[in-house]
């Protein structure tokens, strides 16, 4: 059956390719041709809705964004072509430079923090019992909750007065009171903390999947060799998790670079720009300062960085697999 299907497929492709533009007159060939064009036409018909949406809402905006990034956009007055001036302006803009630094710190901190916490959670909650499954489901809830909701509740916890919720809690161990997102020194770390809290359970699920794939006999062998628990985790578990960790790092780093909602909801970039990241900067430039050209240049730069990051990780993974 399969063999028949595949030979007829090859013939389909071949004849359509050769007879595409010719005018058919022969009755037998005409019938055959209609079937053949139908075979190539139908897949595109099924792809049409997706193609249309992607074209209008992804590719045209992307092209438009690149075009706008080369213009000084003046609504109702007509745009002026300025070449790469917008890019130069952004790359020398103090606020954008600070924002890019914040973005890197936030992305790096969240990525590593979420992974470390996720790893500990996975070690703690690995197992098949019903109660562990229940705990895992409960711990996973922050991942499903919308970022805007999480932002609101953490803003309340971060209430800066000594009677604030989190300040009460840390006072039990003799710390605080802190002002969290309201103090320029602690605001970025506070935003990072919320991000770690939201993303760690996600990392936990992937690490758990990785842990499930490790051969139990390796653990036993290590134990027979007299390795301690920590040596076993360091020498057996972590190396086996390397592929999962690579994937997590890539996903989290890309997600971290484009961070917007968390920051916008928690601090709006403040206080005094201390949590301003690349995307909040772009948003302010576009919608508060109405500089669509500058904002587009900022978006294109972010896209290029993400692209370079994705492609180089893919390339690195391919090269490793090929070896």
């Amino acid at each position: 059956m399969t063999a028949v299907a595949s030979t007829s497929d090859t013939r389909d492709v071949g004849s359509t390719a050769s007879g595409g533009g010719a005018v058919e007159t022969h009755p037998v060939r005409r019938r055959r041709r209609r079937r053949l064009t139908g075979a190539t036409f139908i897949p595109w018909l099924f792809l049409l809705p997706a193609a249309l949406i992607f074209l209008v809402f992804k590719f045209i905006p992307m092209a438009e964004g690149i075009r706008l990034s080369l213009f000084e956009v003046r609504p109702f007055l007509g745009d002026i072509f300025v070449g790469f001036k917008n890019y130069a302006t952004i790359l020398s803009d103090e606020k954008f430079l600070t924002a890019s630094w914040h973005t890197l710190v936030l992305a790096g901190g969240q990525t590593i923090g979420a992974m470390v916490i996720g790893f500990w959670l996975a070690l703690l909650l690995e197992g098949h019992t019903k109660s562990l499954w229940f705990v895992r489901s409960a711990v996973f809830l922050p991942v499903v909750a919308a970022t805007a909701v999480i932002g609101e509740i953490w803003r309340l916890f971060f209430y800066p007065a000594p009677e604030g919720f989190l300040n009460e809690v840390i006072s039990w161990v003799g710390l605080g009171p802190w002002e969290y997102i309201h103090d320029t020194d602690t605001s970025l770390v506070s935003v990072m903390f919320v991000g770690i809290w939201k993303h760690a359970p996600y990392d936990m699920v992937l690490i758990l999947a990785g842990l499930a794939g490790i051969d139990r006999q390796q653990y036993e062998a290590a134990a027979i060799d007299g390795a301690s628990t920590w040596q076993r985790i360091w020498n057996v578990t972590l190396p086996a998790l390397r592929p999962v960790i690579t994937i997590l790092l890539t996903l989290a780093a890309i997600r971290g670079l484009r961070v917007f909602t968390e920051v916008y909801v928690l601090t709006g970039g403040g206080p005094a720009g201390s949590t301003d990241v690349w995307m909040t900067r772009v948003y302010t430039t576009a919608f508060e300062q109405s500089e669509a050209g500058l904002a587009s240049a900022g978006s294109v730069l972010l896209f290029l960085v993400t692209l370079v990051l994705t492609v180089s990780v893919q390339w690195y993974r391919r090269r490793k697999e090929a070896r």
């Binding site: 059956m1 497929d9 492709v13 190539t40 139908i42 595109w44 099924f46 792809l47 809705p49 997706a50 193609a51 949406i53 992607f54 209008v56 809402f57 992804k58 590719f59 045209i60 905006p61 992307m62 438009e64 964004g65 706008l68 959670l121 070690l123 703690l124 690995e126 098949h128 705990v135 711990v139 996973f140 809830l141 922050p142 499903v144 909750a145 919308a146 805007a148 909701v149 609101e152 509740i153 953490w154 803003r155 309340l156 916890f157 009460e168 996600y202 699920v205 992937l206 490790i214 139990r216 036993e220 985790i233 994937i247 916008y264 772009v282 576009a286 904002a295 587009s296 978006s299 994705t310």
Partner: protein, 292 residues
């Protein structure tokens, strides 16, 4: 405990013996701590929403003075209108996303045609294109659609349509459809089934597990949207519930309790979807991350 369970069932070597009190005790304690840390904040939303006057300094897991006053005041602040916006967007966009993904996947997985590799590459490209990057030009495109010159600004359709196609769903669906044996299709063709019947009666019913995965992921992705509804809105009455939370909070006349009532309404649908399709969700995370 099953007979063949050993302490090497877990990387850290948790003892599974009933009499290992110390190991079990530590594990129970740490698990409880994890649950408090990760679920506690969400529980506070519940209690605060039902408390008659929640104060940021006196948050608790159980409301001090249980009442529905927050929801009554929230009603005056059009909270149900925002929720309706959110639900219409979620329902419409999800329905569109599911159909578009299933159609596209059918072509990609079950057909061989010229340009197939290019089609796959284009879809992959959309996944490499972060939504945030195109937000600014997208707001212009939505204000003046190419060719037809219609403005979707301030409409729910303006949020629904851009979410209608998602590369991730198409890929998950395609991978799944590839696994369906060709014999089934051949048999139906012999019986004289046309293309649409083949699609609707043979392939689609077999895709239910994958539909679960892309439904729960799609819902989550749509409910999480923030920047898109924010830029499409022409005035605050177009906001989704998640976007409206910020506006409610910034309003000095609105107290913490009302914001928490809104947050609760925004939280509940995600919880319901997650808890009812949990298996699909966890399966999707592992396959999605490795494929993508």
């Amino acid at each position: 405990m099953s007979v063949n369970s050993s302490r090497f069932d877990s990387a850290i070597g948790w003892s599974t013996r009933q009499d290992a009190w110390v190991s079990r005790g530590i594990r129970v304690l740490l698990s409880a701590l994890a649950v408090i840390l990760f679920c506690g904040p969400l529980l506070v939303i519940f209690s605060g929403a039902f408390d008659d006057n929640p104060d940021p300094t006196q948050l608790s897991v159980i409301p001090d003075n249980p009442s529905l006053i927050n929801f009554q005041v929230a009603t005056e602040n059009k909270i149900w209108h925002y929720l309706t916006n959110s639900l219409i967007i979620a329902g419409g966009a999800l329905l569109l996303q599911l159909s578009v993904s299933v159609f596209a996947a059918y072509a990609l997985a079950r057909k061989k045609f010229r340009g197939q590799a290019i089609a796959l590459l284009v879809i992959l490209a959309t996944m490499m294109l972060p939504e945030e990057v195109i937000a600014i030009p997208l707001s212009l495109v939505i204000g003046d659609l190419p060719l037809v010159h219609v403005s979707l600004k301030g409409t729910l359709l303006g949020v629904i349509l851009p979410l209608g196609a998602w590369g991730f769903s198409i890929f998950v669906m395609t991978e799944f459809m590839k696994e369906i044996p060709a014999e089934l299709e051949e048999a139906a063709k012999v019986d004289g089934a046309g293309e649409l019947r083949l699609f609707a009666q043979i392939i689609l019913p077999l895709c239910k597990p994958a539909l679960g995965v892309i439904a729960v992921f799609g819902f989550n992705m749509i409910w999480e949207q923030y920047l898109l509804p924010l830029i499409v809105a022409a005035d605050p009455s177009d906001y989704t519930l998640t976007v409206a939370l910020l506006a409610l909070r910034s309003d000095d006349m609105v107290g913490t309790g009302i914001v928490l009532a809104g947050a609760l309404l925004a939280l509940v649908p995600s919880l319901v979807v997650y808890l009812s399709l949990q298996k699909s969700f966890l399966r999707g995370i592992t396959t999605g991350a490795i494929k993508g």
